[in-house]
């Protein structure tokens, strides 16, 4: 066979096999991956607004949020999915707020590509738990290398101030926007 034709045929053959195998793998993994992401978002709602038994998905003026209710159906807070830029890419998080939006009930980082071991630690429990009970007015702030004194502040991660600052900025911006539509 002409070598040129053979080259083409072989490459086409391999590309087709590869495409076939990958479609097959994707077919199985795609629903699992999608379920993972949805599950994570769902779980995070219960996490950031403690006591939530049920929630309603709402959207107002382009701002999506979740109304969280306890077992008797009373509104106990809002879960707000927000995102913004971090040090290396987009940070997506879920913020839990009291019904009057004055205080955070918790946050959960859903997606981030910060430096592993440094900024990446915004994904760790210790950092996220600090936000529980932090006041949102006038704005959330941060301090370095010491425990925060004001009830609006959190402590930034050592060596990852930019990532910590980004989380704070994303929260402030998201909450402010949410206030305007409420």
């Amino acid at each position: 066979m002409n070598n040129r034709v053979k080259m083409l045929l072989i490459m086409t053959l391999f590309a087709c096999i590869s495409g076939g195998v990958l479609s097959f793998v994707y077919l199985f993994s795609a629903p699992l991956i999608e379920a993972n992401i949805l599950e994570e978002q769902r779980n995070s709602i219960f996490l950031v607004v403690p006591g939530t038994r049920d929630y309603d998905e709402k959207a107002k003026d382009g701002v999506a949020y979740f109304e969280c209710k306890d077992s008797s159906g009373t509104l106990i807070g809002y879960a707000l999915p927000i995102e913004g830029n971090g040090y290396q890419g987009v940070i997506k998080l879920m913020a839990g707020l009291k019904p009057d939006l004055s205080e955070l009930t918790g946050i959960k980082v859903l997606q981030q590509v910060e430096t592993p071991g440094l900024g990446g630690r915004i994904g760790e429990k210790g950092f996220q738990e600090q936000f529980k009970g932090v006041k949102t007015e006038p704005a959330i702030g941060y301090v370095k290398n010491q425990a925060p004194e004001k009830d609006t502040d959190i402590q930034a991660i050592t060596g990852a101030t930019i990532s910590s600052r980004s989380v704070v900025a994303i929260l402030n911006k998201g909450i402010e926007k949410f206030r305007t539509v409420q």
Binding site: V25, I33, P116
Partner: protein, 215 residues
Amino acid sequence: MASQDTKKDEGRASRASIEFLKGFWKENPTLVMLLGMCPTLAVTTSAVNGLTMGLAVVFVLTCSSLIVSLVRNIVPSQVRIPVFVIIIATFVTMVDLFLKAFLLDLSKALGPFIPLIVVNCIILGRAEAFASKNKVWLSFLDAFGVSLGFTVTLVFLGGIREILGMRTFFGMQVLGNGFEPWIVMLLPPGAFITLGFLLGAKNSIDRKLAQKKNS
């Protein structure tokens, strides 16, 4: 190199063990060949990251070396590199999808470095230098040994950086609170410094062994 196939009868078992074991010390991909530096330096901030990266490479390298060796006689040499890359990329995408579906947290920690295994020179290097010229069984042993050697080195590197940088090993605290963590170990310079010490240590052990042999 084609003569390697014809010499198969003499010392087959020892040849096999040599091909398997060389990846751990004599031809360690990280410490001797200095290949795959990008993932080595970037993901080894903790032992578990190093281990996951290593295991992903074990799977990709072993599978792609097997396939490359199987098809080595039907692929025209002019298009062998694109064909190898297609094979490698297929397995890498499989690992990436698998991690996203079953181990989401680890997949997040390793970020873009799993897809980047496609261009990891260890994989294409073994395909080109070994699997495309050797029988399937030997190619399998070579790939398995080299990738396990890579894994061991990455866990070692990640372990040292994690212990000194975060006081933990595989997430368990091993150094007391009195030890102030060396943040620099988690930063890129920490990767270069640790790798430099590991290279130095390996070379000095080799020199001592050689001296012992000679004396």
